[in-house]
Symmetry: D2
Amino acid sequence: MTSTNQDLRVGVVGAGQMGADHIQRITRTISGATVSAIVEPDAGRAAAAAAAAPGAQPFASIEDAIDAAALDAVIIATPGPFHEPVLLPALEARLPILCEKPLTPDSASSLRILEREQQLDRPHIQLGFMRRFDDEYRALRELIAGGDAGELLMLRGVHRNPSVPDSYTQSMLITDSVVHEFDVMPWLAGSPIRSVEVKYPRRNGLAPERLREPILVLIELENGVLVDVEMNVSVRFGYQVGTEAVLQTGIARIGQPAGLQRWSDAAFSIAEHTTFKTRFARAYDAQVQAWVDAVRDGSLVAGPNAWDGYLVALACEAGVRALDESGPVPVESAARPAFYA
Amino acid sequence: MTSTNQDLRVGVVGAGQMGADHIQRITRTISGATVSAIVEPDAGRAAAAAAAAPGAQPFASIEDAIDAAALDAVIIATPGPFHEPVLLPALEARLPILCEKPLTPDSASSLRILEREQQLDRPHIQLGFMRRFDDEYRALRELIAGGDAGELLMLRGVHRNPSVPDSYTQSMLITDSVVHEFDVMPWLAGSPIRSVEVKYPRRNGLAPERLREPILVLIELENGVLVDVEMNVSVRFGYQVGTEAVLQTGIARIGQPAGLQRWSDAAFSIAEHTTFKTRFARAYDAQVQAWVDAVRDGSLVAGPNAWDGYLVALACEAGVRALDESGPVPVESAARPAFYA
Amino acid sequence: MTSTNQDLRVGVVGAGQMGADHIQRITRTISGATVSAIVEPDAGRAAAAAAAAPGAQPFASIEDAIDAAALDAVIIATPGPFHEPVLLPALEARLPILCEKPLTPDSASSLRILEREQQLDRPHIQLGFMRRFDDEYRALRELIAGGDAGELLMLRGVHRNPSVPDSYTQSMLITDSVVHEFDVMPWLAGSPIRSVEVKYPRRNGLAPERLREPILVLIELENGVLVDVEMNVSVRFGYQVGTEAVLQTGIARIGQPAGLQRWSDAAFSIAEHTTFKTRFARAYDAQVQAWVDAVRDGSLVAGPNAWDGYLVALACEAGVRALDESGPVPVESAARPAFYA
Amino acid sequence: MTSTNQDLRVGVVGAGQMGADHIQRITRTISGATVSAIVEPDAGRAAAAAAAAPGAQPFASIEDAIDAAALDAVIIATPGPFHEPVLLPALEARLPILCEKPLTPDSASSLRILEREQQLDRPHIQLGFMRRFDDEYRALRELIAGGDAGELLMLRGVHRNPSVPDSYTQSMLITDSVVHEFDVMPWLAGSPIRSVEVKYPRRNGLAPERLREPILVLIELENGVLVDVEMNVSVRFGYQVGTEAVLQTGIARIGQPAGLQRWSDAAFSIAEHTTFKTRFARAYDAQVQAWVDAVRDGSLVAGPNAWDGYLVALACEAGVRALDESGPVPVESAARPAFYA
């Protein structure tokens, strides 16, 4: 698709919470795009979503929407296990794709997607790791790359959630939460993951009985940088995602409290986030705007691509094993095809 | 204009720095609007601006653009003295208007605009006091209005600029800079201005010779709240706009440094702004998006209106007098017409 | 008195709250001094104080203590109106004196003290303006004097108290609270006070009925620096003393929250002080240690002297008038004698 | 020794940097104590130290000082390998002892000291782990013990030094630097160390060639709390010691920048420490004052005792092994005698 003054017609697959957010975002916030198709088998959800996007057509399947020529590009917002059956026909139709993380639930299926995508002229899939569009992560990456403080030695992450839903299992500590670090830490450090290890601190008695957490995840990168991530999902007090970069001659920290400052009741305070929705609100907007702009100008991808998704799937597999094994679990990937260079 | 799926066709009058920013903003950032007309007599500027807005038509005057039915709404981004000749035909054409501050350069001309606007069915003019769309100002206003910390007693503002252009005169300390406080402080406090007074601290020897600054501006509001504003335009070190609200049982402060934190060279540091463009980038976006949404849904105005502009013009007149007089200079306004209730 | 290894024998006059603090400080914290005499007519207070200072002798008057040769130096911790009758015999006995602020309650009596002191060989009186011994005030003064950020243009102070006792009157806003600013602001700026003016913000309804506060005090210094002080004594939320220095090319701020940082209940917070005792605990210690050291090494005074006390008395008189008059009230002092150079 | 008004006569053994600091501290800062004896075989050092402490007698050995009845208590400030030959005669003489860390260089010699000390009526040795006297560490311990934020789950420490002297070896990362964490982390958590593990991040190329650092030290406590410590000794930018406590429902952080805040050169900044001497200046003072007070009132020890020193020696031995072994190295101590309960 070449640059025009026409709005990009976006189909959204999946009208659950994430899909509904994207529909509202494209309709009310993003420049140069409209929601033209909503693919959602659940009739109630489909109707609710359509109400927020005047002019969008409902479809029961991605194939129907493609057959009706109802979209120029697609956002996939279904749960991970349902990505592959949408990705394949969308690639078949040569549609640019913004796919919520993960690419697919495992590395084997991710490899299948990579193979299919490589039959096209260039990458068509962008992955929804929105942290890469957060202003502070961007500033941190720029500072590291700039080299003013010397080489990067360590990255130290914390990810703290007030609580998790009933459906959240022990392995989701890795596949649903640490998964973001598996994408963003190599992106900050400019180096892929070599191994993953899990350490268990004292268990939080407020966690659901099925969960043994918090965990401390140790990640070695190929360039020797050591990453640690405190993953903590029952902290109650708020939602917090922070990173500290340890460089040769300096330290940098992001994710610290900001905004209105108050003095009351013998304390100085700043409100902390309680959900990723506010913490990363602007990152989600920036991510989708960048993707829309990239599709309209023909570059198609303006963020992590399917190869990044495959690497993250490998790291998740190692991380899930590391929940039960002591010591580092190695991560070994196939060679990166020139297609994704 | 009722809500539709069609983009709002916006004409931009004036393609200087501010106008060029708005053209780019509407084209690349704002949802639901396109630049359809650019009114700029300077051919070079007009061409440069048009390049950023594919599909926009150039016009030499607002009248021409209106005659060509080339716009649904208008943004006025010319210098203040040129607002009235655009406002009047735009009101005649019943166009919704987003007018950069000030409404007009003095209260007499502002009153003429108010009279003309009241011949329409409802207010059509929104003024570009973008601070009202800044997240922190909004949080502060909400906190004050919430009453949890008791009544508001004082508001304490600082406005510090690294430097000013050669064209900046002594009276512009009031009309170009403090003018923002004349709008936003009453908005925060929920009460209009009663008087304005100026105090002179030691002069900054780095200021241009024609300027006697910094100044301390003392503003009494009708509800007894005392406002002080440190206005300082040759500070070199950065750009800073902050406000502290003194309430009965607490204090709130906005405009403090935030973002990536660094340790280097025996110091902890956070980058400070150096221009209003970054400090208020999101406020400008939010302001224009709110106005576009309001025009599309028929409410037309989603921010300060022409009456607010008239009040600010009165305060500026008092402020300019106060630069040369000792003691408080009273501000007396006409009664607010029901039209602007 | 020349330097020896012997402890300095300090007599403390007044064993109320301030005096009891000093007795405990010298006994338990200060190196090189012991409390040798306690002058307190109230028998209960005297007994309680003596219990904290083993070896101290009780006296009913300063004259008795002097006659008994029971002290090498004296700390005066009675209320201001009772300073003169202690200062005069102590000067007569050539005792080094640490006198709690104020020197005396008015400039006329302060002048009498100055005259008496000048009959000695050098100044013997140090005044208890402890802010000068606070680490942050000292760092601020050094930064200003260093000149790296250019000339000083403004000083902006806030002094906020949770509440005041029943005995606190309207004029004590000046004589008991702003009095500290009258000492420390000229010390920071290196220039004496030219005038004092008071502005009334909206009254705090939580203040005792007899008080009209907060007030904003505007102080002009001889070098043109403008000082403003927000004086606020019913803020409930905590105790806060802060200063911001506005320099030509930079800003400096002291008195901001520090120490343990917490995240809880959707907020990041730092405890704020609730009393001057914790805020200035180290300053009181440092002040008394510096004075003890100065007395032991023969320099006698290591802080503000009686002349500074006289200047503050003048400023207080102007400040009290300014509570009832509009506009600046001038402060005119006698010429500084070489004795106090 | 029972409480009297007499100054405690302290002998200082070792007049190197640490000893000289203590001599000055006792002479000029600490209440109720004087330096009565200086034990230092190096004549030049001894003379320099004596100059700072009028009245102190020089001795070539602790035995000589004891024989001369020249001291009531002793501070040992020699290097660790020279502690035992001072500790034994001092215990023999039943002198209260403040011993700089470590107790002795290994657990075997520490056990010998413990055995000797248990022949006395009660513990006489206090160890110089001064962090326990830092205001922020104390506030953190109180917060943890208070239980308001639930159980402690993790402790996360950073210890960053600008550089190290030529004499600093790889094992000193553990025995000279992490040694402080081995004392203070169990003290914060209320639980001893179970194992120590070392991870190697990317090496800092600015470190001396003989050092492989930074290191990340993982410490398991008996109660399940996981401690990690980033130990980093060539950071150049400053000196920083910080701790973050992860509790069930909240986070607490100490060691963050504080004091005068500046705006200059497009940045907001706060000076960071560059040496432990300023970072822990008040902690050293408070430690020695507490010890002097304890000796004077007969309680003898007011901080970590010899048993704590033995536990730290064990942890250091495990830590040094962990520098070369992968995985956790267990720490196994003898049972705590009732004497140290």
